[in-house]
């Protein structure tokens, strides 16, 4: 018996506007609403709405079909403001009773690594939003970018979750296969679902790659690969960005048709079915324990954190940001708190990544900046303004100069 478990990640950051050093202390609007609306509407048109339509049709057609989503809080918030029809279409999916919503940090942040308190608060904020919009309570947690280790599993179990999701990375799995339910070595009952990255990436990354020997990927071929695990695996965890449908893989690649026909093809085999993460956890006993000390993610060949924290400017920016936590919370100013949180979204640090830049591969991901350095400069300017706002509460020096701002921000970071 092989259960196919789909989880789609849905996220859009609040991108910042171009914010110059000359605006520090003068303007406190940091986000590029026009750009964010434009991107959201574009992706809604190309991906979210048509993909949700396909999923709804599949759910209506196949009572066995099940899927799950993780929607970042900042994504849901933008949809509520600028594309409510997207929220409605997700609601329609959840109403079928066969669509699970997973838990994550509201701000799609790296908070766990810098502040457990903040992490917990963001998870709770997300939970509240999911309850409000979908009347659902997430039971399974996925951390931003699938960042994971034993310690995170322990913490998440402590928060009451039943399961957690991670990359099925070979060095962590060792001789094991990703196609079973596991238990983190250090937790009591928490289940661990690991991504089958080969099959997931066949859809998410390689689907339209004409240089790939398996191109074109048909539902028959893909189903054959799934069937091959019958007898040697219990679940095939297909985890990917939802933007795969229509945005990363354009409609003309046939990605929607692929998805439209995949469930019926998979269900042709009597031993195949679909399960949500919670169902898998409920119905399968952990096959073994997984011991993972080092932090892993689902990114890049390295599966590490270097895309967000790999260089000095990323580390400087994020350290300064979290160093401000106490002062930000002490202000009790909801606007300051929310701005500070929106700056935590992992994308802002991803834009500062320099590791691929020499190859000119900067457009590997939608990046609103010309260079990682521009991204840092913009972030630093906004941080300086935020520090000034926080400082104004401390009533130390309302007309602080840049020099003083720096000494506060950077001194705290060290």
């Amino acid at each position: 018996m092989v259960s196919v478990c789909f989880y789609f990640q849905v996220h859009q950051p609040f991108r910042m506007r171009k914010y110059s050093v000359f605006e520090i202390g003068k303007r406190h609007d940091y986000f590029d609403d026009a750009k964010n609306i434009e991107v959201l509407k574009k992706v809604a048109r190309k991906c979210y709405l048509p993909a949700n339509q396909v999923m709804l049709e599949l759910l209506n057609k196949h009572p066995e079909f099940k899927i799950s989503y993780s929607l970042s809080g900042v994504f849901m918030e933008q949809c509520e403001r600028w594309a409510p029809e997207v929220i409605e279409s997700f609601k329609a999916l959840v109403k079928t009773g066969r669509v699970e919503i997973l838990s994550e940090t509201y701000h799609h942040s790296l908070a766990y690594l810098f502040s457990k308190d903040e992490f917990r608060e963001q998870v709770m904020l997300h939970k509240k939003k999911v309850k409000e919009l979908f009347n659902a309570t997430p039971q399974v947690f996925r951390n931003t970018e699938l960042i994971y280790n034993n310690e995170i599993a322990n913490f998440v179990e402590g928060m009451g979750f039943k399961g957690i999701i991670a990359e099925g990375w070979d060095p962590v799995l060792g001789w094991r296969s990703a196609n079973f339910v596991y238990k983190p070595k250090t937790t009591r009952n928490l289940a661990l679902l690991m991504k089958n990255y080969r099959l997931s990436d066949d859809i998410a990354f390689r689907f339209s790659n004409k240089g790939w020997p398996e191109w074109p990927l048909t539902t028959e071929k893909f189903t054959q690969w799934v069937n091959n695990f019958n007898g040697s695996g219990e679940c095939i965890n297909l985890f990917m960005d939802y933007e795969t449908f229509g945005e990363h893989q354009w409609e003309d690649t046939g990605i929607f048709d692929f998805m439209r026909h995949l469930p019926s093809e998979i269900l042709k085999h009597p031993d195949n079915n679909f399960k949500t993460p919670s169902e898998l956890i409920r119905e399968s006993k952990p096959k073994d324990e997984i011991d993972c000390h080092n932090l892993i993610s689902w990114a890049d060949l390295e599966r590490d954190l270097s895309a967000w924290l790999g260089n000095r400017i990323q580390q400087s920016a994020i350290n300064r940001l979290y160093a401000l936590e106490k002062e930000v919370k002490a202000t009790d100013d909801p606007e300051i708190l929310e701005d500070w949180r929106k700056l935590q979204t992992s994308d802002h640090f991803y834009y500062m990544c320099t590791k691929w830049f020499s190859d000119g591969d900067v457009h590997k991901y939608f990046n609103p900046y010309d260079s990682p350095y521009d991204s840092f400069i913009n972030f630093a300017n906004i941080m300086n303004d935020l520090v000034l706002r926080v400082k104004s509460y401390e009533d130390v020096d309302k007309a602080a100069s840049l020099g003083e701002v720096k000494s506060v921000g950077m001194g705290k970071a060290l």
Binding site: R312, F357, S358, F376
Partner: protein
């Protein structure tokens, strides 16, 4: 090969480019006879020594003709330049006087000498560098019938900030039209040549410049004399093309945030006075250091003592000097209107006219050591991809293509 300057006697990046190209070509087994207008005697000795030190002298022969041609001169500054050349060459060099005192006449005389050289010197390809040598190249081609490769390092539109001298742009046009192949030093230049002169894009090849992989000059270890203050460098001719006025305006804005910053201006040119006056008017002259024209090791020292090199050129066909800065470990802020911005990723880039953005970036590099360090580490690594062999290989291939077209 017809050029007009060769290190150490040069006023801009072109001398360096010709030096590097001939050196690289020599390694590719191409024998180059380099024809140049008069160089001072001392300069020639030094030149031979430089080439000899690298064991390349056997493939490069320098032919001098007496002249005061200087490519970046406007007609008005020509007389001034003539005086300077006489100062450099000494009063005994009467030979300069056999040529006319106006630039148009100089170009003509250079072109006439070119005919003689085309007769005397065996060659397969004629390679000319910029408008001053185009007439010479056309004449040589008429004599020998060999293919003409016109290298364009800067168009008259670049040099004048869009106010071309008709005489010069006409020669430029004729030379580019007459050439069998045009070599542009960037896509930016190629685009300009196509737009301004309607040259057939099919005969334009782009060869980006390289730079010496290593040089003792990169390791002089020059420290900034300003212990406390950060230093921002402008290095280049102080002419409209190089955007010195934008540098001053950006400096004024930077000083509002980082009032101790030092701005070093290395170079000379016809906007020098205007630059000083503007800085004085803004009340920021005391933050400026003017070094005058630098050459040789001093250029590298200037880079090494700077925290950031700014190249705010209005139109920079390539901008070899930016690579020199990187070689010396100094991060760069370059205008997007430059060829070098096409090939360097780890750099700050701005539109030359956007002085607010320029200042924004300068302030941040100076304020955040981690940003400076990240730029420095990555640009130092990235600049290693440049060398002299690649442009020379491409140039050699272009010669072969030119020869095959002519056959």
């Amino acid at each position: 090969m017809f050029g007009w300057e060769f290190p150490p006697f040069k006023s801009g990046g072109l001398g360096t480019a010709c030096y590097d190209l001939t050196k690289g070509l020599s390694r590719q087994g191409v024998s180059v006879t380099f024809v140049m207008p008069a160089a001072p005697e001392g300069a020639n000795a030094e030149f031979v020594k430089i080439i000899g030190a690298n064991n390349l002298a056997k493939n490069i022969k320098v032919r001098k003709i007496s002249s005061v041609l200087a490519p970046y001169q406007s007609f008005s500054s020509y007389d001034e330049h003539l005086k300077q050349v006489r100062l450099l060459t000494g009063p005994k060099s009467k030979s300069n006087d056999i040529y006319g005192k106006n630039l148009a006449e100089e170009v003509q005389r250079y072109a006439i000498v070119a005919e003689h050289i085309a007769r005397e010197e065996p060659h397969d390809v004629i390679h000319v560098h910029d408008w001053m040598t185009y007439q010479a190249g056309m004449n040589a081609k008429r004599i020998s019938g060999k293919p003409l490769v016109a290298h364009i390092h800067a168009t008259e539109f670049d040099r004048t900030g869009g106010h071309p001298n008709q005489f010069i742009s006409h020669i430029e046009y004729k030379g580019l039209k007459a050439a069998d192949i045009v070599i542009a030093n960037s896509n930016w230049t190629k685009k300009n040549v196509i737009e301004q002169y309607k040259i057939d894009p099919g005969k334009i090849e782009v060869v980006h410049w390289g730079i010496d992989a290593d040089s003792p000059h990169y390791h002089l270890g020059q420290k900034s004399p300003f212990a406390e203050e950060k230093t921002v460098l402008f290095l280049g001719r102080i002419t409209i093309q190089k955007g010195p006025d934008y540098f001053i305006e950006a400096a004024d804005r930077v000083l509002k945030y980082l009032p101790k910053t030092k701005f070093v201006v290395a170079g000379s040119g016809d906007m020098f006075e205007r630059m000083i006056n503007r800085a004085a008017d803004l009340g920021i002259l005391s933050n400026f250091v003017f070094t005058g024209f630098l050459s040789g090791a001093d250029v590298h020292r200037a880079f090494q003592m700077a925290d950031l090199y700014v190249m705010p050129s209005v139109s920079e066909p390539f901008g070899l000097v930016a690579l020199e800065s990187l070689k010396n470990g100094t991060p760069i802020l370059i205008s997007k209107q430059s060829g070098v911005s096409e090939v360097v990723n780890h750099a700050l880039k701005t539109d030359f006219w956007d002085v607010d953005d320029m200042a924004n970036k300068i302030v941040n590099v100076l304020a955040y050591p981690e940003l400076h360090a990240e730029l420095k580490e990555n640009c130092t690594r990235e600049v290693q991809k440049f060398n002299l062999d690649e442009p020379a290989q491409k140039t050699r291939a272009i010669y072969e293509k030119a020869l095959s077209i002519r056959r």
